[in-house]
Symmetry: C2
Subunit: 339 residues, 2 copies
């Protein structure tokens, strides 16, 4: 009997034959590489570089499939991007699944396929994993944790850390904001909006490397939960400088803008999963924008604002009519389970 | 308002101020170290050794607190042990929490404290983390993923891998079997057994190092889900040799034995969380046992069986009366959510 068809049963998490078959048939095949195939408790990696970047992220997004991606693809992009914005070259991923009893194996396979495809695209290997099954009703379909290891050359260790940020520096983003959050919300709720919005979910490591190979990026961060507002507020607090953003420089898709207006959201607070904020000196702005715009993941890149000496520790948005307002970090959640 | 008292709210997973406060007050304080305090997306680690071991494990145990430990302590022990049985010196952990809305912050703090205390005991640093909150009813209280990095010196790379296992080698375990599984089951169900059973949940890296510093351990594995039976069957399949276990050499606590008999479980299939199975040549058995027995985590160590040329690929249990039976791996689960 092939026990990896149909729906997930509690026995698939047992450490017994059913779990073995599930791992063999659904996971190992898709993440195929020599390190994983060993199936020991730890993956053994080789390193001849100096510093290791290590990150972790659990994904609990609802729904698990959304326009532009699914939880598997997202779990790779999220962790790869966390490594890349730290100046690291992402190399290895662990993948741990918590699966609700009754989840269709076919759907799990599709998600594992997306995960494997995105890992290949990003150039990272899934080298170790874990699978737990919980009784029906004890988790919501599927949660995935990906932890990641990347390597940082000694000379790149300060990339993106923010310590060199100075007034006059520019803030760049590689495209439209709010796409991921609105796509997921639109898929989750039954708004009957005719607008089609796709998540921007993408691995940015190759794009980021193109920039950092040629330019010193003083600060780099992916604006996920909490959106652009959270990242900029963190930067303002960290540096003690002020930040000014130009409203008409913010790239926003029409559909996202319309949906935000209807629902009363500020796109600056909405999660992105394929965006990076970079702070670069004024002298580098045009060249960085050129590199970004020549990549499919950066075609709508824009310099959205700059570091200033005024209103220290605060982020201020200037609008087209000359008015301005403070952009704060939200206290709680606008949108739960968006990643 | 201090938003990190009382119960977990969805806003604690938002990327906003509430999440920031939760992380600061509940987690960072407890896992305090310079790498974590940076709070960037990836922890940056230094390595001057040759090989990196990398492992991941999600913990979904029910109940989250049990005699002998809780999910926080377990999450450290499980990942530390996976690294240690791979011949690695565990060094760094990531910790990712998935928390159900409404979970008491006080309980979360206690669990985080246990986690921090066990990490300190094991000599590992929690260097990166993540927190997700899901709506009430969408997960069962609290799940924790820990991923771990350890370092393996080049000369130790074959430790515990099994490639040198040969007939005549002995199989050693560092104490009683089945304690964890029965302790958790006893805490979960309302059997009204008067027996007190404690989980064996412990980090074994220091104990293992004492042995591997002096002896070549040919195969090493922690018998968690699937129990001793799963590990030995894996070894038999991997090497192609047979394995013989002596029933009267198996250390089992009276209470565990009684509970297993009452419920119809075989203790060989029950999960342990503080046990390691080692395969060593006959010449090393006494010395290895002496090292183990001199440690509080190995006082009841025993040589439970040996590698044989007969019944290839199978594990056979010999009982006191001279009879024998095959010990197979179970197909599904005896006990779900035991780790």
């Amino acid at each position: 009997m092939n026990q990896t068809k149909g729906n997930i049963m509690l026995g698939h998490g047992s450490g017994g034959k059913m779990m073995h078959d599930l791992i063999e048939n659904v996971f190992i095949k898709k993440f195929n590489n020599n390190i994983l195939t060993d199936q020991t408790d730890s993956a053994i990696l080789n390193s001849d570089l100096d510093n290791i970047a290590f990150t972790t992220d659990s994904f609990v997004i609802d729904p698990v499939v959304f326009p532009g991606g699914n939880i598997g693809k997202l779990a790779v992009c999220g962790t790869v991007n966390d490594l890349a914005v730290s100046g690291a070259i992402p190399a290895y991923l662990s993948v741990s699944f918590i699966i609700e009893e009754g989840f269709p194996v076919e759907e799990l396979e599709k998600i594992a396929e997306s995960l494997a495809a995105e890992a290949q695209k990003a150039g990272v290997s899934v080298v170790t994993g874990d699978t737990k099954i919980v009784n029906k009703g004890k988790c919501d379909k599927l949660f995935i944790n990906t932890s990641g290891i990347g390597f940082i050359r000694k000379e790149n260790i300060s990339i993106g850390k923010g310590s060199k940020v100075a007034p006059g520096d520019f803030i760049i983003i590689n495209g439209t904001i709010g796409d991921h959050g609105m796509a997921v919300l639109n898929a989750r709720e039954s708004f009957n909006f005719t607008i089609h919005i796709e998540s921007d979910c993408a691995s940015l490591n190759h794009l980021i490397k193109k920039v950092t190979d040629k330019h010193e990026v003083k600060f780099m961060r992916d604006p996920t939960r909490g959106g652009v507002a959270a990242v900029l507020n963190e930067l303002a607090l960290k540096t003690g400088f002020g930040i000014e953003i130009e409203e008409d420089a913010l790239p926003i898709k029409k559909g996202v803008k319309a949906m935000c207006e209807l629902l009363g959201f500020d796109p600056l607070h909405i999660a992105n999963e394929g965006k990076v904020i970079m702070v670069v000196p004024e002298s580098d702005v045009q060249s960085v924008l050129e590199i970004l715009k020549n990549d499919t993941l950066g075609m709508e890149s824009s310099a959205i604002g700059r570091i200033v000496t005024e209103h220290q520790g605060r982020v201020v948005l200037r609008n087209q009519t000359g008015g301005s307002r403070i952009i704060d970090t939200l206290s709680g959640d606008q949108l739960p389970r968006i990643c």
